[in-house]
Point group: C2
């Protein structure tokens, strides 16, 4: 999904395909590193990911830690290389935006808060903020990346950032719903882990029905943010529909 977002938002501004593909590859590397580290025994301790053994099960823990580190490093290096964009300011903007989305104030910080708050009672606002850090930030970054690459005007950047924020939250609620109701076979990872770990999610607080409604509303709102892009945003609209209707 993250790569798709980069490619589709870049297409809105006629960004060269090589630039878009490199940024898409970079965000997938970043995302893959986060999955490999999150699955470690000391973290979420998961054996399955996308229906296959997690990295530390297929290899060993040291390999998983180092592979994650190398992917994270390569993601930033790739962005800074001249082939990514001819304007070095754009490359720096991408590095900064990715850093913000994934570092201590973003994904890594969110994962830390998630570990520390296990067993604690979080309210909806707290969970919402936690999810925005943990998963929302990278999705929002992916939606903004095309605008950064395309030197888009301010209003277009804001529209895509708003789209990305709503899409990210809708995606996370849908993910929590799948975890609550799905089977490992369907979702490609261990099911029911959140409930087993006593982790509060949007679903555990709102209940399945209201959570499903909220996800639908967020998906619709995400689509509204795309109105200035008319027909060119057809795939981005379809993605907003898809994240709340998917079964895996």
């Amino acid at each position: 999904m993250r790569a798709f977002l980069v490619l589709e938002t870049a297409a809105l501004f006629d960004v060269a395909q090589l630039s878009a593909i490199r940024v898409a590859a970079s965000v997938e590397m970043l995302h893959a590193y986060s999955l490999v580290h999150d699955d470690l025994p000391a973290m979420d301790d998961d054996d399955l990911r996308r229906g296959r053994p997690t990295a530390h099960r297929a290899f060993d823990e040291a390999t998983a830690i180092l592979a994650g580190d190398a992917l994270l490093t390569r993601a930033f290096e790739l962005l800074a290389e001249p082939e990514t964009h001819n304007d070095p300011q754009v490359r720096c903007d991408l590095v900064m935006a990715l850093g913000q989305a994934s570092g201590a104030s973003g994904m890594a910080g969110g994962q830390m808060i998630d570990m520390v708050s296990e067993g604690m009672v979080l309210d909806l606002a707290e969970i919402s903020r936690l999810q925005a850090m943990k998963t929302g930030g990278l999705i929002q970054y992916s939606a903004k990346a095309g605008a950064i690459l395309g030197n888009a005007r301010h209003s277009d950047r804001e529209a895509l950032a708003a789209y990305g924020a709503d899409l990210g939250t809708a995606f996370q609620i849908a993910d929590d719903l799948l975890d609550a109701e799905g089977t490992a076979e369907e979702i490609g990872k261990t099911a029911g882990k959140d409930a087993a770990a006593g982790k509060a999610t949007m679903v555990s607080i709102l209940g399945m029905e209201r959570a499903r409604m909220l996800a639908g509303e967020l998906s619709s709102r995400a689509i509204v943010h795309l109105k200035s892009f008319d027909d060119r945003a057809v795939n981005l609209r379809a993605l907003a529909d898809f994240v709340v209707s998917r079964r895996s």
Copy 2:
């Protein structure tokens, strides 16, 4: 040492102090992340670092993994920020150079080879290459960083890169010597670990006496590379002396 190298090489080219300090902070973050991850139970499994409990002992493994991830991320983000240098091309060059020194072809890759080759018989050339990846690259990057920041001419960049390469190897041999002969109190980490793990080092292959001689030769050669900088390189020369004479 890494921060010192950045500050001293930057001073050769009259780089603004804020720029030099930010790049020095970035490389120390990168180095700190590598220590925190290398000390993990799945990696070198160390309890002591700089005479104090390692991160996973003072806190827990998840915290150590995430703190390392966040430090790594912040190191790159910091370099890309406008305050680091007014020329975005210079910021991109720093991100790329740091990425090369620390990723799969550098530090992380070297650590992986080190784990995989434990118990294997490596010859001097193989160990030399492994050490250059594992520790030499980041030291060399630190020596080059001032030249990148200062838009130095090619010959000056090459001279500092050569200085950094020799300094890094000398440092590593000195480190291996300390590990072989030192006590935990002196070196601030568990002593004799390499021998206990059956790890080949320059010292185990050459013996203490020849290893000490080689370190001295490399230190002298490092100093020769600095000749075009005359008096301004006095601290860089002193560092080359220090790395082979230090007791901790």
